[in-house]
Structure formats: structure tokens, C-alpha cells
């Protein structure tokens, strides 16, 4: 196995050209997805880093793929802006490229959309070592096929991402959270539902089993001036719960974003799902020893397991779901039956006809 750490885009191109099999990674924060495979050249992209262009008045920035998101966030916050898809594992050192390739968004993606909705353009090195630009640098662009989208969740199999352009938004001045406790799952689901169709501007809705039942966390963001009235209104919708502010509030979301709730040595599985499927899934997983979080009003399930992730694959399959192991380790990272496999293989043939980029 050869490990390479290119220091420039042209070096990435050169390494790609000389290696028959390539696997690229960022800071390695998605531990399960950062693999080493025999006979494969590994490209560590963390030196390909730096903010290239940032024009706050355009609501866009362009940065190299290895740029750490903490650094981006700092530059953005100096201008009162943020990445609304709430990238995860930022404090662990996540890079922009790794986040895009893993296709991950945090709990805050609920309000305005996920990483797919904020990525405007990419440059990647293709399997011939050529630089390819997809998408654009402006907030709106419908020219040609949207190649940038293909990099979302690509796990490095379609090219080595070297540069990215994102859309950003003005950041809310502050956040406030209503924390609710329910004895039964049905009540908790009802609460999620009520929030998700309400006319309140909600930033995030999270649900998780607790020791005594089920907790629901509803976060709103906005101006300091209106916040007291708005959180009060949210409270009155349920007439119960606890209002959290300041660091008590922030820590809840930080935990979720950073996956700090996942015990060391456990594996974490991402499950795309819907609110309507939680009841059935909970019925199955309760018996297993695992931790669960349901993000975005039940649109994303996160399962943390102590045993090997494959051991719970039957449960996932039974529910008609499919998942990806993000943290920990697993023989197989993809669990369950993936849709659109045949369409994907066409795309793979088009973009990487010589199969240079390893599929993990």
C-alpha cells in the first residue's frame, strides 16, 4: 500500500495518473469510511487546503477540498454568515471534501436543506488525471448536467474532489431550544409531526429514546429581540417542556453534530428514513443493544451499535431500509439493499471507465 499526501492540485493529478487504484480521504473523521485497501494508493487530501475566494455579498465561497470546516466557519462567522446544512464532526476536524464525499449534514439541515442543497460547484480530478469542473460559482446555474451533485455521497468513487464552491446564508443571531419529554413513542412522534407542519420557522427537530421514555428537541434561530416571544409560542404549542438557552442549549446540538453521544469503539450507521417508519423500526431495535437518534423530524435515523454493524443488517432489511456505516468499522459499509444500483453503475462507467477509484 502506498500513502501519498499531495501538496498541490497538480500533484493530485500526477498521483492519480501513476496509480492504477486510488482511494482518497480527508481528515479521517468518518472513521468507517477511511479505509486502507491492499494494492491501493491512498491520497491524504488534507494539505490541499485553504479558502480561495469568499465574497460575503455573494453568499458564496470557494475552498480547496482539504480545508477544515472549523476554519471556514470562523471566516464565515466574522461576516455573520454560516453553512446552514450544519456540517457534522467539525470539531473533530472534518474537511469540506470529506463532508461532501460522505454526503453528511447535521441536525440543522432541517430548515434550509442538506449539503446537496448548498454545494454549487466542484473541481475534481477524473480517472485520467484531468481536472473537471462541475456546476458553477454563482448561486444559480442550470447549465449542463449537474456534475457537482454526483460528488455528494460519492465516497471518492467518481473522482478526487479538489475544490468546492458553497452557498452560505446570514447566520441567526442566536438559538433557543424547547426540550420535551414523553412517556410513549406515539406521543413523541405526534410532537414531531405537530412541529413539522406548524408555521413556526424551525431550525432543527430531533428525537431520541431516553431512560424514561422519549425526548424531543426543537430548535429555533433568529434575532435576539424576537426570540423570547417566539420560544414562548413554541412552548405554548405543547404547554410543557423546558426552554434551553445559551451553553445548555448549544451543547445539545453540539453533541448531535459531533456524534459525541456515540460511545467509543461503537459503530454509527446512517439510515435515510421517514417519520412514518420510526414506530416499526423502534419495535425492532428496542430489543437490541443500541442507541438511536432520529434527526430532521424523523427523516434520518442514526443507530449506534456495539457489535459489528452487519449483525443488525437483518433488522434494516426487514424494515425496507438501507444504511451506511459512518463511524467505527465494518466488513461491509453498505447495509441493506440500495436503490438505483443499475443507474449508479452507468454513471460509474461514464466517469471512471477504467475503475481507478476504489469503491469502499
Amino acid at each position: 500500500m502506498i500513502n501519498r499526501k499531495p501538496a498541490s492540485v497538480s500533484e493530485v493529478q500526477a498521483f492519480v495518473k501513476e496509480a492504477p487504484r486510488i482511494f482518497s480521504h480527508g481528515a479521517g473523521t468518518k472513521t468507517a469510511l477511511t479505509v486502507s485497501v491492499d494494492g491501493v494508493t491512498t491520497l491524504d487530501m488534507t494539505l490541499i487546503s485553504g479558502l480561495q475566494e469568499y465574497e460575503p455579498e455573494e453568499f458564496t465561497f470557494t475552498a480547496l477540498a482539504g480545508t477544515r470546516i472549523v476554519d471556514v466557519n470562523q471566516a464565515l462567522s466574522q461576516n455573520g454568515q454560516y453553512l446552514p446544512f450544519d456540517p457534522p464532526l467539525v470539531e473533530h476536524g472534518a474537511t469540506l471534501g470529506g463532508t461532501v464525499a460522505a454526503g453528511l449534514s447535521g441536525p440543522g439541515r432541517y430548515r434550509y436543506g442538506g449539503v446537496r442543497d448548498f454545494l454549487l460547484g466542484v473541481s475534481y480530478v477524473n480517472s485520467s488525471g484531468e481536472l473537471v469542473r462541475g456546476g458553477g460559482k454563482v448561486v444559480k446555474n442550470a447549465a449542463g448536467f449537474d456534475l457537482a451533485k454526483l460528488m455528494i455521497g460519492s465516497l471518492g468513487t467518481l473522482g478526487v474532489i479538489v475544490e468546492l464552491t458553497f452557498k452560505v446564508f446570514p447566520a441567526p443571531e442566536l438559538f433557543s431550544t424547547l426540550q420535551l419529554d414523553f412517556d410513549t413513542l406515539v406521543d413523541a412522534l405526534q410532537a414531531l409531526q405537530q412541529a413539522s407542519v406548524s408555521h413556526l420557522d424551525i431550525d432543527a427537530i430531533e428525537m431520541a429514546p431516553t431512560e424514561s421514555g422519549f425526548g424531543v428537541w426543537i430548535r429555533i434561530g433568529g434575532s435576539a429581540k424576537t426570540m423570547p416571544a417566539r420560544i414562548d409560542r413554541l412552548y405554548k404549542m405543547y404547554n410543557q417542556g423546558e426552554i434551553l438557552n445559551g451553553s445548555d442549549e448549544e451543547i445539545i446540538w453540539q453533541q448531535l453534530r459531533e456524534f459525541n453521544w456515540v460511545p467509543g469503539g461503537w459503530s454509527l450507521i446512517k439510515l435515510p428514513m421517514t417519520h412514518g417508519r420510526i414506530l416499526a423500526l423502534e419495535g425492532e431495535v428496542k430489543r437490541e443493544s443500541m442507541l438511536r437518534r432520529y434527526s430532521c423530524a424523523g427523516q434520518i435515523g442514526w443507530l449506534a451499535v456495539k457489535e459489528s454493524p452487519e449483525s443488525i443488517e437483518p433488522v434494516i432489511v426487514k424494515q425496507g431500509l438501507y444504511g451506511l456505516v459512518i463511524l467505527g468499522s465494518s466488513e461491509r459499509l453498505r447495509l441493506g439493499e440500495y436503490p438505483s444500483v443499475s443507474f449508479y453503475s452507468r454513471v460509474k462507467t461514464a466517469l471512471d471507465p477504467i475503475n481507478r477509484f476504489v469503491e469502499v
Partner: protein, 474 residues
Amino acid sequence: MNPDKFLSDLSQIYPAERFLTQPAQLTPYESDALTAYRVRPLAVVLPVTQNEVIETVRLCGRYQIPFVARGSGTSLSGGSLPVEGGIVIALNRLDRILRIDPENRIAVVEAGVVNLDVSAAAQPYGLYYAPDPSSQPICTIGGNLAFNSGGAHCLKFGMTSNHVLGIKAVLPDGEVVQLGDESLEGIGPDLVGLFVGSEGLFGIALEVILRLMPKPEIFKTVLASYSSLEGAGNAVSQVVASGLLPGAMEMMDELAIQAAEAAVQANYPPGATALLIVEIDGEKNQVEEEFEQLMGVIESSGAQEIRVAQDDADRARIWKGRKSAFSAVGRLSPDYIVQDGVVPRSRLGETLAEIERLSKQYNVRVANVFHAGDGNLHPLILYDGREAGSLERAEEIAGDIIHICIQSEGSITGEHGVGMEKRAYLPQMFNEVEMNTMRQLYNVIDPQKISNRGKMFLDIDSIFLNNGGAIYDQ
């Protein structure tokens, strides 16, 4: 490739009233909203079931007959123009809303469903479908998806692509695929995102899963008039700099204002050179606070006249003028071309000045209506098709405007697509490697090049058909 045999097989799929071959029946399908182009198709079929579409596509594959999917034919770039020797698959009747699911906030609809009908069906649950092209009372979800259509309210919540969760499609070689599903998130390359915006080249979307959103609690809308486009443009920059995120930020110039006024009596301030519409939507308290802030910005932006919509009717009137601008401008001139290039927002002012200069130089009238919030221009270039050289002049000025967009690292199209009309410019925005990547994708998805052949790529006939695609196998 025997068209008679093909047509006779095709007629087996459809009853006579949904299988059109008579010249008089074909005429309405010969062009779309880009009226400068016309092509008579071999036949037009009107499927009412997904199976009919699938069978039709498979038949086309067997005979290598090109097909064009058509929604309502409102494409402004010639996207739904028929292909010579091919058929049109008109999807207006494939229009069942299969499911509105308030629990998961999704709508499952067939591709021929009209955009606004989705919101109407979601209305009882307090939900709506966000992307709002001005053509939304007639255009279809399939057409929206093919072009990644936008609208006035796409600044905050994005375009069609940001609201499509799943697509069931029949690929040009007859395979039926399901991309994405009901969840907000997927795993693996974002294939839904690739299909959206593929301009009908990847086959036909049959059924689409759309994300619905709760309707904003309130809207607050202000209209301000300025004595110059630059003045209005500066106001846009100031709004953005103030840290606000409006739901919509739209501009119109003098010619567009006059046309809208004459067409729908929007009651816009008389004599304005430029008009800016800004709308804030969302939760009541927050909107009121932000609107106050917005008014502070607008009041110090040198506006001539400022009007705040007093009620829903007032707001509707303001938007009616804006949304009818295209058809209104149509009254000023027998024909027009609309461009929809994008420039970085900070370059709006200079770009508009340049368009004005070009308009004088070519002696061609240009009306401007555009999405100022995201730098998406819509210059409407007026011409008279009966006058020799008039279309050519209009196309020349359109080309100049597109060049400005490319030079400023913008885009040749924000939402109307490449279609027929901007095929020559796509290779100016993307280099040969990038163009080849797109052609390769087209090649693996439509090896026979029968799905909307000749759109997006200018050179598809010469490159693929003469070489049987071999050039890309090297």
C-alpha cells in the same frame, strides 16, 4: 428504421384520439415558448398511464426513433421542440396526484401534474410546493424537473432540484429506474440531483416525490421605485449586506414596468425607471422585525416611491405585475427571446448598464425583469420575425449578453436550460474535458441518442451518430 411500420406499431398502444398524425393536430406541438424554432414531428402521442409511456419509449428504442417528452411546452429555450423524424410524447394527461402525505411532508405525483396543482392539493394541510416559476399555473412538474426550474421565491429554499426527493423514470433504453425515495437524505452519489436538470436527455420522469413545506405564516412585501437601474441594484446590495435573507428580491426596468402596467394594471408607480420588489416571509414575529430592518435599508436607498403591500390583495397585485411580465412584454412586440444568464450579484449594476449600451448599439429594444437576489437576469430581447434580419440581430445581442455572463464567472442559464438555444454557448462555459464528461454521461444513459436528441449538445449528431459513439471508447 421504418417510420411507417413504427407508426403502425405505435398506433397499437393508443386509441385514435390520443394518437395524432394529422398536420392540423400536430401544429400546436411544433414549437414551445421559443417560437423562433419549429419542427413538425412524425406523430404526437398522449399517454394517460405510465405503462403507455414505457411502451412508447421501448418502441422508439427498437426502431431508433427519437422522442421528445413534452409537458406544457412553456420552455423558453426550445427544450420541448420536436426532433426531426421523431415523435412527441405529450405528458399533460399523465397527471394524477397519487398521494399527499402530510405526515412525511411529501407529494407523490405523476410528471404531467401542473406545478400549482401540487400546492392546491397540499393546501388543506397547510403545506405547499415551494418552487414557483411564473409559468406555474400551466407548466408541469416533469418540465420543471427537466430544467431545474426556479422562480421568484427561490432565494431561500432553492430551485426544483432542492425539492425533488425521488424520481421514477424510464430511461431511453427502456429500463425503469427508481432514484431516491421519500427521505430527505439518501446515500451514495446524488443521482436524483443528476437527473434533475438533464433536459429530457435521460429519458422520461414518470412519477416524482416532492418535498412539501409548511406555508409561511405571513408575507410582508415592499415595492420601491428608482430613477435608475443602478439605484435599484445598489439597494439590492444593501439589503444583502444588512444580513437579511428575503424570500424574494425582484427587479424590473422601465419597459417591463410599462408593459406589466398596460397588461394587468398592477398599479406600479408611474414614471419609474426601475422597480424593486422585496418580500420577507416566515413566522410572524420574526418577519415583522426583519421587515422593519428592511424598511430602514429601503428608506435610505434613494428610492423615489415606496409602497408596502397593505393586504393580500395588494400583495397579489404587486406579484401579478411581476409574474405576468413575460407575456406582457409580448404585447410590445410580435416576438421576443428571453435570456436567463447569471452574474455575481455584485456585478448586476455594470451588467445592466452594458445591456443598455448593447440595446442602443444594435437598436433593439430590451426589457429587463429579473431575480435580483440571485443575479439571474432575464433580458427580453424584442424583435419582429417578419422583418428580415431582425431575429439575427436579436440573437447577436443575446450572444453578447451570454458572453458577459461567462466572463464574469456566472452562468449561461439560471433556470431556463440550454435547450436548442444555448447549445453553442455551453462549450464556452465548460472546457472540452468537461463537455466530454457530460457527453459520456449522456452516452451511457442513452446509447442510441434518441431522448431529446440534439438538445444541450450542438454537436451530438456529428460526434455520436457518425462514429457510433466510438470516439469515447478510446
